[in-house]
């Protein structure tokens, strides 16, 4: 296998086939800048991937004080040495010439450079003024899924106990809040049940709205390697697009967008009808089976076929595979989380595993996935609309316990209702009751729905906006104060991937100019605001990443996400470790719920649950009577039609999504030459039949419009579900003459010009995948094709319609065999 591979043209690299139940062989991927030989590297510094949720461990190559490349860590349990294209090339953005190097403040309507003292004092003065005049409810924080654990925890403490505001949320609201909510609904508490190692053991892997090949390419390599080994798994794929996963699946279901609950209910109906229920497991570990069965009574495959526009026979075929599986692994992502009835659908996947007893054993598990690299930490640290350590805001004892950890009066910590979610914060800002919004590490002016509305909110004079970022993003251009932040490779901290694996990411080089780690910025603010605990000591008593981590350990002690057995030192040198990690599990915990459901008891659960249709909270007394012994809850859900159906002026369904080569709003990947060249501009996908009806061809300039707005994009004709359009959401305006919004010279480019403001009432996750749209030919192509990748779900309907996506010499990556896992270095099978 040793060799050099163009990892833009072949994103998943070479195969290392392995048999079911065997360890996944290591393959070390290395990419070094042109002209740098491995032996000339000064230092290798440990880190993990910051451009997706997989947690691929890597070492950063440093030469003469600069980052010159990366190499996968063979010893790590997650990636066994492999890296994805974004990991391999994304680091180059750190050295982009347009990094922010000094703070900016708005003077006479323009952003001008200033020093840290001036910028921070402006923020402090406004904070004090608002606290005095309007109270803590006037201040909100909107953070990210890309900072480090130590930073989120510090932010959570200063916001919830320092300011005392209820308004702290992360952009994880857009990517992973449904995962958290679905776990809370079924298991009483957040916490990923499964493990990536389950891929080694499963005989069936079902991917629900999860384009694994593009969102976590390294785990897709793992599945590809199993598909080429002995006793390969069968794949079931639910996705309206012809993803790589769909092309390798035994059964591919491409339902009408917005009908996931109907489809899942029919799958459950069939599993029950064919007698595949593990009644022993259901009786021992669950409540609610009778209600579930009653709810499913009319959800036949024929009924669902009509709703979902999928043949009933295909649904039965899929149900047969799911029902007959010996070890079933299911994964769920945005096709469910960002679609209509998000939580209700994600919960049905949990139900599938509960009624089949497929939990807590090698190969039998659920992965309710995350999108972002550190989303798990936003959730567990309490920066994603939850209290830290998965504490229950409705449980006074949990709040008292948190107040004890922080040494504050419980009344200091707002808990009169659920912490405010991001979309509601923007509504409060729109109405004027929220007057200061501190945005760290995210770009809502491109990533939130209905951008004309978001820009109008951020541009209000009365709203004081702080943007903390690496670049002058579309959002930063609308801010009153811009703080230059250090990023991955320039600061130290920990973060946790989608299967609970905690990694350390060490500082390799100095940040540019005066840019500072986010942790230092938050600590500086806490010091200037002089936040105190109830005995007059500083509320935030730590001063660097390691002391912040130690403070977090005290907060996590005894909670499901227990970090007390971890330290920066323990995480340095070896593999990442899965929480909970404590005295009882000093080397971490591969799977949750192997010995029953542990965090659903009324006294310990993070949430009493919500109504899956209305989002109404269940009260403690109700939960106690429903689930006195703390079992898993089988929650049934009725299908409701989507809120915006195609028809009339807007005959298409529109879904937005991502591509392998980019992350979020391209702030980093758009500045990495190989990644940018692989997908440099927005496109729209339509089926061959729909294109023909519009007399449109590959590369034609099209207009996509909805009642909210419009964008222009070149057409890519693919095997997408007829009637459905797809637009990637990554593209904004920073690399156009317009800067932050469409104008007379730059037409709409961001997918979110068109998306609807609607969110799942349960998880509050915005729905980016359920809108009605029109498509119109604007200008015939002069022969140029769209710039959509040909290697992925956007592959052309006819090979040859567009030139193949290649990286050439600049994208050659070395792949080397490594003995790390060859001798069965694990004992979990």
């Amino acid at each position: 296998m040793d060799g050099s591979v163009d990892r833009i043209a072949r994103p998943w690299g070479s195969r290392t086939p392995y048999d079911r139940g065997r360890p996944w062989p290591a393959r070390v991927d290395t990419y070094l800048a042109d002209g740098v030989a491995p032996e000339s590297v000064d230092r290798w510094v440990q880190a993990a991937s910051i451009l997706h949720s997989d947690g691929d461990a890597m070492d950063i190559a440093v030469k003469e004080g600069r980052i010159v490349g990366v190499r996968g860590r063979a010893v790590d349990r997650v990636n066994h040495g492999r890296l994805g294209p974004k990991d391999l090339f994304g680091w180059q953005a750190n050295a982009a010439r347009d990094r922010l190097t000094r703070p900016l403040v708005r003077v006479d309507g323009r952003l001008v450079e200033t020093d840290w003292e001036t910028a921070m004092e402006r923020i402090v003065a406004r904070s004090r003024q608002l606290l005095e005049e309007r109270g803590p409810g006037a201040i909100g924080f909107y953070t990210s899924g890309q900072l480090f654990l130590e930073e989120y925890y510090t932010l959570a403490v200063l916001a919830r106990a320092g300011i005392g505001t209820h308004h702290l949320d992360g952009n994880t609201r857009l990517c992973t809040s449904t995962a958290a909510e679905a776990l809370k609904e079924s298991f009483g508490c957040d916490g990923q049940p499964g493990s990536y190692d389950d891929i080694d053991h499963a005989d069936v892997i079902a991917l629900f709205g999860h384009n694994l090949a593009e969102t976590q390419p390294v785990q897709w390599m793992r599945i590809l390697d199993r598909l080429e080994g002995g006793d390969p798994p069968r794949l079931v794929c639910v996705d309206p697009r012809p993803t790589r996963v769909a092309r390798r699946a035994s059964v591919h279901l491409a339902p009408r967008v917005g009908t996931n609950v109907a489809l899942l209910n029919a799958l459950l109906y069939e599993v029950i009808r064919t007698g595949r229920v593990d009644t022993g497991y259901v009786e021992a570990h669950t409540v609610g089976f009778d209600e579930l069965k009653a709810r499913l009574a009319s959800c036949t495959p024929e009924w669902a076929a009509d709703v979902c526009d999928v043949p009933a026979a295909r649904i039965q075929e899929a149900a047969e595979i799911l029902g007959a599986a010996e070890r079933l692994l299911s994964t769920v992502l945005q096709g469910v989380y960002q679609s209509h009835q998000a939580t209700a659908a994600a919960v049905q996947v949990n139900n599938l595993h509960l009624i089949r007893g497929m939990l807590g054993r090698p190969g039998a598990g659920v992965l309710q996935m995350n999108g972002q690299p550190t989303a798990q930490n936003t959730r567990e640290c309490g920066a994603n609309g939850d209290l830290p350590g998965f504490r229950n805001w409705q449980n006074d004892e949990h709040v008292a316990d948190l107040a004890r950890v922080w040494n504050v009066d419980p009344k200091t910590i707002p808990h009169y209702g659920p912490p405010t979610h991001a979309m509601q914060m923007f509504r409060y800002a729109e109405q004027g009751s929220l007057r200061m919004l501190w945005i760290s590490g995210t770009n809502p002016a491109v990533s939130l729905p209905e951008l004309s509305r978001i820009r109008a909110i951020l541009a209000q004079d009365r709203l004081f906006v702080i943007a903390q970022d690496l670049f002058l993003t579309e959002t930063a251009r609308l801010a009153d104060v811009v703080l230059p932040a250090a990023t991955w490779g320039e600061k130290t901290g920990t973060f946790t991937n989608a299967d609970r694996t905690v990694h350390l990411s060490d500082k390799a080089v100095e940040p540019p100019g005066e840019a500072r780690p986010d942790l230092d910025i938050f600590l500086d603010y806490a010091r200037r605001m002089d936040f105190r605990d109830k005995d007059g000591a500083p509320l935030v008593g730590w001063h660097d990443p390691e002391s912040a981590f130690e403070a977090w350990k005290r907060c996590s002690a005894g909670r499901p996400c227990d970090y007390t057995g971890l330290s920066h030192a323990k995480l340095r040198g070896g593999t990442g470790v899965q929480w909970p990690c404590n005295d009882r599990a000093p080397e971490g915990t591969p799977r949750l719920y192997g010995e029953g459901i542990t965090w659903a008891h009324p006294d310990v659960c993070e949430s009493y649950g919500k109504d899956l249709v209305t989002g109404a909270t269940v009260e403690a007394v109700e939960y106690r009577s429903l689930n006195p012994d703390g079992r898993a809850v089988l929650k049934a859900a009725e299908y409701l039609p989507p809120h915006e159906e195609p028809g009339g002026e807007y005959p298409f369904q529109l879904t937005t999504g991502r591509t392998l080569y980019h992350f979020h709003t391209r702030t980093k990947t758009g500045r990495a030459p190989q990644l940018n060249a692989a997908a440099p501009d927005v496109w729209v996908e339509a089926s061959a039949g729909d294109a023909r009806a519009l007399d449109a061809r590959e590369g034609d300039l099209m207009e996509v419009s909805t009642p909210r707005g419009l964008l222009r994009a070149r057409l890519r004709i693919t095997d997408i579900r007829p009637g459905l359009l797809f637009v990637p959401f990554h593209y904004g305006y920073w690399d156009t003459p317009a800067g932050h919004a469409p104008d007379a010279t730059t037409p709409g480019r961001a997918a979110n010009e068109t998306t609807v403001t609607d969110w799942d009432p349960v998880s509050k996750q915005p729905l980016f995948k359920t809108a009605a749209a029109a498509l119109r030919l604007v200008e015939r192509s002069d022969g140029t094709t769209s710039r959509a990748p040909t290697t992925t779900a956007s592959a052309p309907h006819r090979t040859g319609d567009a030139p193949a996506t290649e990286g050439g010499a600049a994208a050659m990556v070395s792949e080397t065999a490594d003995p790390a896992w060859n001798d069965g270095g694990r004992s979990d099978a």
Partner: protein, 164 residues
């Protein structure tokens, strides 16, 4: 008219009103997106209840399906007030108006819940299986409407009222 018919008539009227009110609130608060969408979904439940009540009443020779829209109906009032939240744009008053509307929906749903309770009790006392089945099928959704309005008020009122 017997007792069951009396209660059926009351529920029919109450659910019809709640359906209209939910739609009116959805229209009025289109800039409060969660309220807008969920209220629209929940109106469908009340409409379904109206149909079921009408069906049960018909079996008893009671015609409840008379045209109910007249000039003074909430539907018209709703149309007049539609998009009140959008027109004043960024003023705080829509927050107060929303609280008032949610309170009214809550009370209306609670009233309906009591009628379902009466129907169920009466049906048990008189061994009226059809009426009992109707109440058992519909009452849970009415309770969910009650809980939804309660949750929304609980969540929204601190910010709205503390920022006046």
């Amino acid at each position: 008219m017997n007792g069951v018919e009396l209660v059926l008539r009351a529920i029919h009227h109450g659910e019809q009103e709640l359906a209209d009110d939910l739609l009116a609130v959805a229209g009025r608060h289109s800039a409060d997106h969660e309220v807008h969408h969920v209220a629209t979904d929940l109106a469908a439940w009340s409409r379904e209840h109206v149909e079921r009540v009408t069906g049960t009443a018909r079996h008893r020779g009671l015609d409840l399906a008379e045209p109910h829209q007249d000039d003074s109906s909430p539907g018209l009032l709703a149309a007049l007030k539609e998009n009140a939240a959008e027109a004043p744009g960024r003023r705080p008053e829509p927050g107060l108006l929303l609280l008032r509307d949610l309170r009214d929906l809550h009370l209306k749903a609670a009233e309906n819940s009591l009628y379902w309770e009466m129907l169920a009790q009466l049906a048990q006392a008189t061994r009226d299986d059809e009426a009992l089945e109707l109440a058992s099928a519909c009452h849970p959704r009415t309770l969910r409407q009650v809980r939804w309005t309660n949750t929304m008020i609980k969540t929204l009122c601190p910010q709205t009222l503390s920022s006046l």
